[in-house]
């Protein structure tokens, strides 16, 4: 793939599966896809979805040979995934603290989802 290609042209179907394209300076940056799926399934969700979107950016930019862009997207993906993860943990801890403070009866009112 040429370097002069405009960034908007998504490389749909141009990269054979698993083949390294030209012009990449290194291995693909971590794309946080698995972590953002886990955050989507188990924690607060908008952040996990932001992580998935950024993972898509990492992969398509890397496939286009835009290594710096892929690294930036990787950092963004990591940021959103971590935010989602820590908010999820925070909600969990707060809820348990709330439960401990109010005692067994207090939290009986809310029904779990």
């Amino acid at each position: 793939m040429e370097d002069q290609k405009p960034q908007e042209q998504a490389p749909f179907g141009q990269q054979p599966f698993g083949q390294t394209p030209f012009g990449n300076q290194g291995p693909a940056p971590k794309n946080w896809l698995v972590e953002s799926i886990l955050v989507t399934l188990f924690c607060c969700l908008p952040f996990g979805i932001a992580g998935i979107v950024n993972a898509a950016n990492v992969n398509s930019k890397y496939a286009m040979g835009d290594y710096a862009g892929a690294q930036a997207a990787s950092q963004a993906a990591g940021k959103w995934t971590k935010i989602g993860f820590f908010i999820g943990i925070g909600v969990y801890v707060l809820y348990i603290l709330f439960f401990v403070v109010l005692g067994f009866g207090g939290a009986m009112m809310s029904n779990y989802r």
Partner: protein
């Protein structure tokens, strides 16, 4: 590095024991998803805790009733875990190329969004997806 792995395993085991012994439908010290609590809509992760409880009791059908997306993504997640364990024990950095295919995140994003919308529709084929 090794210490964090050991800590993760201990925390994971604790969660497995808690989710095995307590049904989240009966006990309410399990946190409720804030999205569901305030918007009264299901998010893609709603039902995961009950699904995990059902899965730990090997009741896959019940788990799929709570969160189909979680059950459907399990084979992928288990494969990923196996890759992780293999690359940790052989000290090779083995990664699934699948995650780095440019189309994978787009397809996953589409699946998550469709699942999210579909499980909130109150019509018959879709409300089976609700948590």
């Amino acid at each position: 590095m090794k210490l964090t792995y050991i800590l993760e395993i201990i925390i994971g085991l604790a969660f497995v024991i808690i989710y095995y012994n307590f049904n989240p439908e009966m006990y309410n010290f399990f946190p409720e998803c804030p999205f569901h609590k305030y918007l009264h809509l299901d998010c893609p992760g709603c039902g995961s805790q009950r699904a995990i409880h059902a899965l730990l009791h090997l009741d896959i059908q019940k788990a799929a009733g709570y969160n189909l997306l979680l059950v459907r993504s399990l084979p992928l997640l288990i494969t990923q875990l196996a890759f992780k364990i293999y690359s940790f024990s052989t000290k090779k950095n083995l990664v699934m190329r699948f995650w780095y295919n440019p189309n994978t995140p787009k397809v996953i994003f589409a699946i998550v969004m469709i699942f999210w919308i579909a499980r909130n529709l109150p019509y018959t084929p879709f409300n089976y997806l609700a948590a």
